[in-house]
Symmetry: C2
Subunit: 493 residues, 2 copies
């Protein structure tokens, strides 16, 4: 089971080795984390990040090993954004020339980067971002500006204190025309004394849920007052602004960006399994030790793990941790498949892959957040103490329901996709991937389950057919209901 | 609506006055609460408690006014236990003589008391507590002792740092016989220098969920090493130990104790409404201000309050806040009714009142905890910031699901009561109070709702009949199912 969980014998070995490396290093100790003040906690995070980097270099760790080391250090910090968002954004959206210039500095931590997209007034609606990048052909520069209070960049991790640079998303304006949201590499702080550059206002946005949790992260606020950057700091892989100020598209297909989204959400699903397994592990162990009631004659009390009320709440969560693990591994395959198809300019599976990852991101993170809190309650009063680990597990996990796509907004996207599919199936188009079953509409709309005895449910095909019939009938029913709505907008509000 | 919410014009006036008193006093400021270290937060709580007491005395506030003042100060602290548990325990379980001796000192804060019941190993199962109080007739004293690690008192608020005294629950042992759990007034700390008395080990049990939240409270641990107290510090209203060590019952009926339980749970239901209304108020205001999506043509975006997905999540919570408020007021009436009946030695309605308060405590606190978290998510990313108020509202509220009866354990008690009632109805006994409808079993098991059109639901009698029929049929169905269980224990595990 250990091998199945990790994915391979090799993965077990590496994970074990990295876990021991972290556990045996006093710099990485976690036991005082919830007792530190915000400032102490932030300093501790800087110290751990620097020490992790030192160890990674000293031990010449591979990328796989380094990622696992950071996983076990388990303290959110600016490096997560540097490696997880800043570097990938340059890789994905930068030209080869831009990658050659910026990536080596990022790899050597000569610069620290973050990802400045969300604004005070705009999260889910990325197209509504207000920060402007106006091209000035007289100087061959973009002018970055925050025209309103709501245009302040708000939330980016690593922005508040640590980052020297950011990939900033802003409305590209050239020749008087607004070309929508594009990415720009912007230096924020001096490389000499780390002070904010002229025209740049920076700050930490304050305390967050929990005692420690995400308070180790310097989520920040950023405002620009007409800050100038060279033209070549626009990320130009997909589109460019010429020296004269002309906006031109490259021949790189825009769909490639969606591949990154599939990648990020795939890792979120895998992380759900990790977070849930930690919580379930604590709750199962507690339930095996804790005894309460059940002794009428002075004998020992009953382990709470033996109560059906405990089992019926706990065991489905244990099963879910495994289920999310395996669906996460399948999503890794899906990402590889989509990437290969995108490289061959085959975009046919992209909508389905996008809906699939959006739906799974939403379902697994919502269920995991609720499950961690349920594990906490399953430990009774003791779950309320930080020393149980559970309050912090919840507080540090729960933003996963909001970042990288709010879960409710994502489910509405899946709903739109399903409604579109129902309409297409009616016209005879064959759906692909996880919704291929919807092509079997004739059978599924009228089939009757052949299950008669409890044992019949042990046949996976019987379970699958029932799920497919239920899902399809609900989708068709929903499509019929919303077709009655007076306008397109009201259907999905 | 303001008057309906507060209960009367008088209540509105007093609440407004106390709210303004707190809001205008700089000592009571709350805006830095989540930024304080645990130690600073605890000192701040002590300062606020002392200042509140000073203002209560200076302004000669009534008990109603003082309670509201503390409600608006809104920072859990030892005074909550002193007034809410220590004083009531002495009032309810102490003899007149004991009340005369201890209450004046408590009223003047010459002593500070807490309520030491829960142990490391025992919460819900009060009968399993392990602390012993062994009578020594040679000295006319009880010897308080913690025989095991799990017998350590664990959780009592005010115990860790503030209290000088506690009502301690322990197994009364006299003449070699264990008479079960009784309450004892025990001095813990010196009135001169506040240091623990000989044989008494005391400490704070550490950080809890949230940044501030309940971390203002000194939940504590307490161990006794053969600590002696005079015999007359056993709370002797219901039973006594004589000078010779004989255990005798007084003629005061034990059922009076259940009246206190009804009282405490009634206040918890009322508090659910207060906590929920705060969260809903924040989420409604946010939804009215926040705009996102919905503009295709460059016009203003749509207020999120106008989205049906937001409404369908938020409005039921708003309605619940009112519902819990009104059911809380009804429970106040129930408590008065039960108290009057108990005084007239009529115990007939006690089981129903007990089940009713246990069920409502469980349902309202679970729903409120979930609802506060839902309000937090309804504020998107901003709900994760402490400055939204929501993370702390959740963290400080959620222990209500566990204290004063774990919600799952309480629901099982309600289930037992319902199953018993179903059995009694079958023998022709007429149920009373909220379950009187179950007497109408003939009709309810076979009736068909007369509702044909949507408008028919506007008739409250139609809704009531449907709920009654559904509840009764589920109860009868459940009774039939569990009657198949092989043993009595397995029915409710």
């Amino acid at each position: 089971m250990k091998v199945a969980w990790a994915g391979s014998r090799h993965a077990v070995e590496v994970a074990d080795r990295m876990a021991r490396l972290v556990a045996s290093d006093p710099v990485f100790r976690k036991d005082t984390r919830t007792m530190l003040s915000r400032k102490e906690l932030f300093k501790d995070t800087l110290k751990k990040a620097a020490h992790a980097w030192k160890r990674i270099v000293e031990l010449r760790l591979t990328e796989e090993e380094a990622n696992l080391l950071r996983l076990y250090v388990d303290q959110p910090g600016y490096v997560d954004l540097h490696w997880g968002m800043f570097v990938p954004a340059i890789k994905g959206q930068g030209t080869e020339e831009q990658q050659k210039k910026w990536l080596p500095m990022a790899y050597k931590f000569q610069i620290i980067g973050c990802y400045a997209q969300t604004e005070l007034g705009h999260g889910s609606n990325v197209q509504g971002l207000e920060t402007t990048a106006t091209f000035d052909p007289s100087a061959d520069e973009f002018v970055m500006h925050s025209p309103t209070l709501t245009s302040s960049k708000w939330w980016p991790g690593g922005l508040g204190k640590a980052s020297t640079h950011a990939v900033v998303y802003a409305r590209l304006i050239t020749e008087g025309k607004d070309y929508g949201i594009h990415g720009f590499i912007v230096q924020l702080r001096s490389l000499d004394d780390h002070s904010p550059l002229p025209g740049v206002t920076l700050g930490d946005i304050g305390g967050k849920f929990g005692s420690g949790a995400y308070n180790s992260m310097d989520n920040g606020v950023l405002r620009f007052d007409h800050v100038r950057i060279p033209r070549d700091q626009m990320l130009m892989r997909l589109s460019q602004v010429t020296r004269e100020g002309k906006y031109v598209h490259s021949d790189v297909p825009k769909q490639l960006l969606y591949g990154t989204m599939v990648y990020v959400r795939q890792t979120i699903v895998a992380d759900a399994s990790k977070a849930l397994s930690r919580a379930v592990c604590i709750a199962v162990r507690y339930s095996a030790i804790r005894k309460q009631f059940g002794s009428q004659d002075g004998g020992p009390e009953t382990q709470v793990l033996n109560y059906k009320t405990q089992q019926s709440r706990l065991f489905p969560l244990l099963a879910s941790a495994y289920a999310y693990r395996f669906v996460g591994q399948w999503l890794k395959w899906l990402y590889t498949d989509v990437t290969q198809k995108l490289e061959a300019k085959d975009y046919s599976t992209l909508p389905e892959a996008h809906a699939c990852t959006a739906g799974l991101k939403s379902v697994t993170t919502s269920a995991t957040a609720d499950a961690i809190e349920e594990c906490r309650k399953l430990c009774g009063g003791h779950g309320y103490l930080n020393s149980s680990g559970l309050p912090e597990l919840f507080a540090v996990y729960v933003p996963a329901c909001t970042y990288e796509g709010d879960n409710v907004v994502l489910l509405l996207q899946v709903a739109r996709f399903l409604m579109k599919t129902v309409a297409q199936v009616a016209t005879g188009k064959q759906p692909v991937g996880t919704i291929a079953y919807m092509g079997n509409i004739q059978h599924l709309m009228q089939c009757k389950s052949a299950v008669n005895t409890a044992e019949d449910w042990l046949n996976p095909a019987a379970i699958k057919e029932v799920f497919e019939a239920r899902a399809l009938r609900m989708a068709v029913n929903c499509a019929q209901n919303i077709s009655k709505a007076p306008s397109q907008e009201e259907r999905f509000l």
